[in-house]
């Protein structure tokens, strides 16, 4: 596998973590590099860190569609606490937010309550707000 690949080609291949980490993907004319991984998806980020793309590596799971539905069906109030999300050609495109697990900013008690209710899947967006980026975890715990 070459190091730069168009995003559509990935669907035809099974990516391993090692491959994902060394990969640059092209999506809508922009280059994305590996950022993080979840249980069933790899996350790639663009160079100016404004957007991420989530790729499923488990075909059985439909987390991208699920995440998009959660965002679409959320109230406006809830959307304030969710990273902006859309589904483009089967891929989740989401506003970039720096995960709290990497940034480790000391949290206030209300922020802690929010972060824990999302199983820690929260990060800081460009506006400096703490938002949930794994929408399936939003206030579930």
């Amino acid at each position: 596998m070459s190091n730069t690949i168009h995003i559509q080609q990935i669907q035809e291949q099974q990516l391993t973590l090692e491959e994902a980490k060394s990969l640059t993907i092209l999506f809508q004319g922009e280059a994305y590099t590996y950022y993080d991984e979840g249980l069933s998806r790899f996350v790639f980020v663009n160079k100016d860190k404004t957007q991420v793309v989530k790729l499923q590596f488990l075909e059985s799971a439909k987390w991208n569609e699920e995440e998009n539905n959660i965002y679409l069906n959320s109230s406006l109030d809830d959307k304030k606490y969710l990273a902006k999300t859309e589904l483009v050609d089967g891929f989740i495109v989401q506003e970039f937010c720096e995960p709290q697990k990497f940034r480790k900013t000391p949290l206030s008690i209300p922020e802690m309550l929010f972060a824990n209710s999302c199983r820690g899947e929260v990060g800081w967006n460009k506006e400096g707000r703490l938002v949930c980026f794994d929408l399936d975890e939003y206030k579930k715990w």
Binding site: K104, L107, S108, I109, P110, M112, L113, N116, S117, W141
Partner: protein, 144 residues
């Protein structure tokens, strides 16, 4: 920093200027659910709860406590865990204050011992001086 450590820091800083006496009443009320008859302690605790957005969680937690057999609790697991961690943070702050008091007590005892030794040394010196003085008076009387 873990959540527990951060909570300890928040409690430490928030109650920095609160006296041990008032803080002990706050702990009794908040951690042990015993209430307080102290206006200052109640006010400070309410202020802490409001400032940290905990009113709603605590009301629901109280409802869960008085109805423990409910199938669906009003609080989430993460909320209950956080309140438990907060209780620990208050108890740890209590222990730290207790430790400071014990150290202060030990310092006081040491100072007292030093003072006693000084006093007994002064007493010995005074007794020596008194003997010398008596001898001098005797000598003076004999001389006359």
């Amino acid at each position: 920093m873990t959540d527990s450590a951060q909570l300890q820091k928040i409690v430490l800083e928030y109650f920095e200027d609160t006296s041990d006496k008032t803080f002990s009443k706050i702990v009794k009320a908040f951690v042990f659910d015993r209430g307080t008859d102290d206006f200052e302690a109640t006010g400070k605790l309410n202020e802490f709860i409001d400032d940290n957005g905990l009113s709603d969680v605590l009301v629901r937690l109280y409802s869960d406590k008085v109805n423990p057999n409910k199938i669906f609790l009003s609080t989430s697991l993460s909320e209950r865990n956080l309140i438990e961690d907060l209780h620990y943070a208050f108890l740890i702050e209590s222990f730290n204050r207790f430790k400071v008091l014990v150290i202060a007590q030990e310092i006081l005892e040491l100072k007292l011992k030093v003072a006693e030794k000084k006093a007994s040394a002064y007493k010995a010196v005074l007794e020596t001086h008194s003997i010398v003085l008596d001898e001098l008076v005797n000598d003076l009387e004999n001389y006359e």
